[in-house]
Assembly symmetry: C2
Homo-oligomer: 268 residues x 2
């Protein structure tokens, strides 16, 4: 039996305005934020949580977010550092389908993809204010075809046909690896809680909390679907962290991220 | 029988950031916005829709919004210009209870106050991100006492005891004077539609649409309770304007406001 390991897969960075990070508070001004994914190597399989952004997509559709991503900061590049072949990823969970969390899904063609059922619907039929967030639908060529996105009539659709499992509620994917419903930032958002043998559990908030200041002040990000639900989700994360003794890992905070161990290092 | 008249009561101005006005879009930077109320002089009574902000409140609690308001720009000052005594206002409708829409309620002590039931609850128990919005509870000393706001233990509470009618759904207040449910900006938000004898109906969006650019681009304000509902409400306003031929009057847009006729002038 293998000991569970957790790797943080660096995915480069984007630039947001301070008003995007702290809703209505800011202050204004460009802030560079990290993007990363999580690999859980577990006795029951290899799970990836989120897959970062696709550089070409962001350069084309959202160049104003000034993406920074080396070849090493892609999903294949990061998995190579860890020594895991993309084809050996068995499970893929997307916290949600914003472009900076699902851009690398297409590299994990053998993985069963898990997402919240409300999230799939939202990505299929976004509100006007969500159109850019859900602009990368390469994670689901079937959905992209429905939206008549030209690029997916090309090679991609024929080579990537993911098996997407739409779920709801908290779920235990592997023993000690749970996804926790934290809606609000998007319609069907999941956070990830991982128990390990030699340290406190790790609670990956994903975009339910960009950084510690978000949680401390209950200031959600400017990007959100339901701010009331967002507040409930933040409170839920705090409560779970207190009850389980978990350490919180935030999604988009440069100074927190600087202190995290990145692949090929791992938590265990 | 009197002909119905509509007066726009100037209430001064505030300063917001562009990101507050156009959610997640901005651009950043200070923007001065007008605040005004509406007086409908009608055969069935004298109705005021919204009452602007209280200067002392904003100077104390939200000085960063840099309020500008002369004595003439208060509710008593504006009513004096029109020649209506505050005590002769019979009906008061608040689109919602954000401080810049209810700050002058206390001057209309004989009016029956109409608000959406969901709005009253929200003002009584705001979400963390609404605390500043609902910071002026002088419109309901009973509610202020529950919130233990010190100032209302003073003179005000004893002299102002409004009769507040909590309603829901679209309502016809007077013949040809309707309030229209447009939730989203706040939990229970109303817009106002007034039919007149000699012109197109007037549709006051209140904060369901700060300005024409908001409506054209479906870009709601940064301040909101439920963005999905906000989009529905914007679409509803567009549809009502089309169906009734109404002219839209926006709440917080300086260039639109410059073209509106202000009291003592009136629409009829």
């Amino acid at each position: 039996m293998r000991e569970t390991r957790v790797y943080l897969l660096d995915g480069g960075s984007l630039e947001l305005d301070g008003f995007h990070i702290f809703w209505n508070k800011g202050p204004a001004g460009a802030v560079r934020i990290p993007c990363y994914s999580v690999l859980v190597v577990h006795d029951e399989g290899n799970l990836v949580f989120d897959t970062g952004f696709d550089l070409a997509h962001v350069e084309t559709v959202l160049p104003f977010e000034r993406p920074g991503q080396s070849a090493e900061q892609t999903i294949p590049g990061q998995l190579a550092k860890v020594g895991v072949a993309p084809g050996h990823i068995t499970h893929l969970v997307n916290s949600h389908f914003h472009f900076d969390h699902c851009g690398g899904n297409k590299h994990l063609s053998n993985a069963a993809v898990y997402c919240h059922e409300a999230e799939f619907r939202a990505a299929d039929s976004p509100e006007p204010f969500e159109v850019l967030g859900y602009s990368d639908v390469s994670f689901a060529p079937e959905l992209a075809r429905r939206q008549a996105v030209a690029e997916t009539d090309s090679a991609l659709a024929s080579v990537y046909a993911p098996r997407i499992e739409q779920i709801s509620g908290d779920q235990e994917i592997f023993k000690g690896v749970r996804i926790i419903e934290t809606p609000g930032h998007s319609a069907g958002h999941y956070s990830l809680l991982v128990e390990l043998g030699h340290r406190r559990p790790m609670l990956f908030t994903a975009d339910a909390a960009y950084g510690p200041a978000s949680l401390d002040t209950l200031c959600i990000s400017g990007f959100h679907f339901d701010p009331v639900a967002s507040i409930r989700s933040m409170r839920r994360l705090k409560q779970i962290a207190e009850e389980t003794g978990a350490e919180l890992f935030f999604s988009h905070d440069a100074s927190s991220y600087a202190g995290y161990l990145k692949a090929p290092g791992y938590y265990y």
